[in-house]
Amino acid sequence: MAIRGTEIKIQGLTHRYGSRNGVTFNRVDLISPPGESLAIIGRSGCGKSTLLHILAGILKPTEGKVLLNGTAIAQPSPRWVMMFQAPHLFPWMTVSQNVGVGLSFGRWSKAETEERVTEAIRLVELQDFAEANVQDLSGGQQQRVALARSLVMEPELLLLDEPFSALDAFTRASLQKDVRSIAKRKGFNIVFVTHDIDEAVIMGDRAVIMAGSPGNIVHELDIDLPDPRDRHDASVQALRTRLMSTFQEAANYQKPASAALAAIA
């Protein structure tokens, strides 16, 4: 399973939900090099998930564009696959059938489908459950199936919308490491939205912080740490503290504007 990364270029991206609503975020610009794991963090309502849905082609921007190696994202595609907060597996299917469902939408031979499904299941270490119904799996195992279902498409970009937030701490920590390790081995890009500073440090190569209303990227921080990362390492803890203080600075981002408005009033 050979996956290549991609350069992501976000140019002047603006979004509003209908003409009567306010702007979600305004003129966002961002470049992510091939193979990068990019964390997007920020408070609720700053437009992180909306940005991710635009990257997946599920939502359309009001202005601006997203380019993947020069190709504009206009609709969902197996080249850029999104993994959601909940696994949303098809309960009438087995693990193998769920993992291979995306391939069944394309023109893949039976032999190729079987080969790719087997490898994706091996990557997420669910070989013993391949023929089990997904309703018989734990929450963590179900999220692994959802990960395999995304990986089997061999995407250039994997988008994750708080994918592990509903899981227990142990399962979450294990999946965070696994996803980063698989992405680095295969070379594809990750863009993930999270509220969890630890998750950003463990999984990301860089974190961008969104804040404000309308939202925008107000800070970014390189997470230059060796792999594998352990959350108890001093270097991880130091970066976590830095990211936390940057995040808190970002939380004050609106204050000058609020103060100005108060002065006018």
Binding site: A56, I58, P76, S77, P78, V81, M82, F84, A86, H88, F90, P91, W92, M93, V101, G102, S104, F105, G106, N133, Q135, R149, M153
Partner: protein
């Protein structure tokens, strides 16, 4: 009651066997009580001089009529004719009901647009269409199939629409995200998701169609279970009449059992 376990049999298997035997025991008991009441009723009718004429409605004469009817091929012929009408009517109901039900469940304006007229037509007794059906269709068979179809289409349609309303919208988002086109969403997501509801609707439709079939066959046809009952009544063969009524019950019970088995086979709901 105790059951001997075969070597290696698990406690779960023994429990299931025990529960299965218990269920069968209750069912046999229920049928035995019904047969006993029928036997007693038949006996009371036969000893009363004013009702003695109807003694052949009793259990024993009815059971004696089965080999006669079977030997003459009357049961087989009636089942073949009624089965064809029932099957054709149900097939039409499914072919019309499932796609319209999907549209109702998926497209809000279509649901709003069709709800009132459909609810209005649904409340009209299927048999009240009988005079119109006789006028419109060239054959008696056509009229009967129409009556079965118009009785059976509503449960299928509304069960399909209700099933679709319960489908998790995130499944559509996931499928589109993985490159599914509308046909894939229909065949790989919608249909498997609602199979349980569609089959439950067909089960209800079968019950309604079976009820409509017999009176509909009192129309001018010369075959089928309804005709066989009417013919037995006119020739005062009361034991043949009750034998046909029992046949209707047995076949209806058997068909319902097939649908229950299909629902179990294709249901993905845990505990269903």
């Amino acid at each position: 009651m105790s059951y001997a376990a075969t070597p290696g049999e698990s406690g779960f298997c023994r429990l299931m066997k025990h529960q299965g035997m218990q269920t069968l025991g209750w069912a046999v008991g229920g049928v035995a009580i019904l047969a006993a009441l029928w036997l007693i009723g038949g006996y009371l009718i036969s000893i009363n001089p004013t009702t003695k004429t109807f003694a052949k409605f009793g259990l024993v004469p009815t059971l004696q009529a089965f080999p006669e009817l079977w030997g003459a091929g009357k049961i087989q012929n009636a089942l073949a004719a009624s089965g064809f009408r029932l099957g054709a009517g149900l097939l039409i109901a499914v072919v019309i009901g499932v796609p319209i039900g999907i549209l109702m469940g998926r497209v809000k304006w279509f649901r709003d647009f069709t709800n009132s007229p459909f609810q209005f037509v649904r409340m009209i007794s299927p048999l009240s269409w009988m005079p119109l059906a006789v006028l419109v269709f060239a054959t008696w068979n056509g009229s009967i199939i129409f009556l079965i179809a118009i009785a059976a289409v509503w449960p299928v349609m509304f069960a399909t629409a209700a099933g679709l309303a319960k489908v998790d919208p995130n499944w559509f988002k996931v499928a589109r995200n993985l490159g599914a086109r509308p046909l894939h969403i229909l065949t790989r997501v919608i249909m498997p998701a609602i199979t349980f509801d569609v089959l439950s609707g067909i089960r209800l439709a079968l019950g309604v169609a079976w009820i409509v079939l017999v009176p509909a066959e009192y129309l001018g046809v010369t075959s089928g279970l309804g005709y066989a009952i009417e013919d037995a009544r006119e020739t005062l063969s009361y034991n043949h009449l009750t034998a046909m009524v029992v046949t209707i019950g047995i076949i209806g019970y058997f068909l319902d059992g097939i649908l229950v088995a299909l629902i179990k086979r294709y249901s993905w709901h845990r505990g269903a």
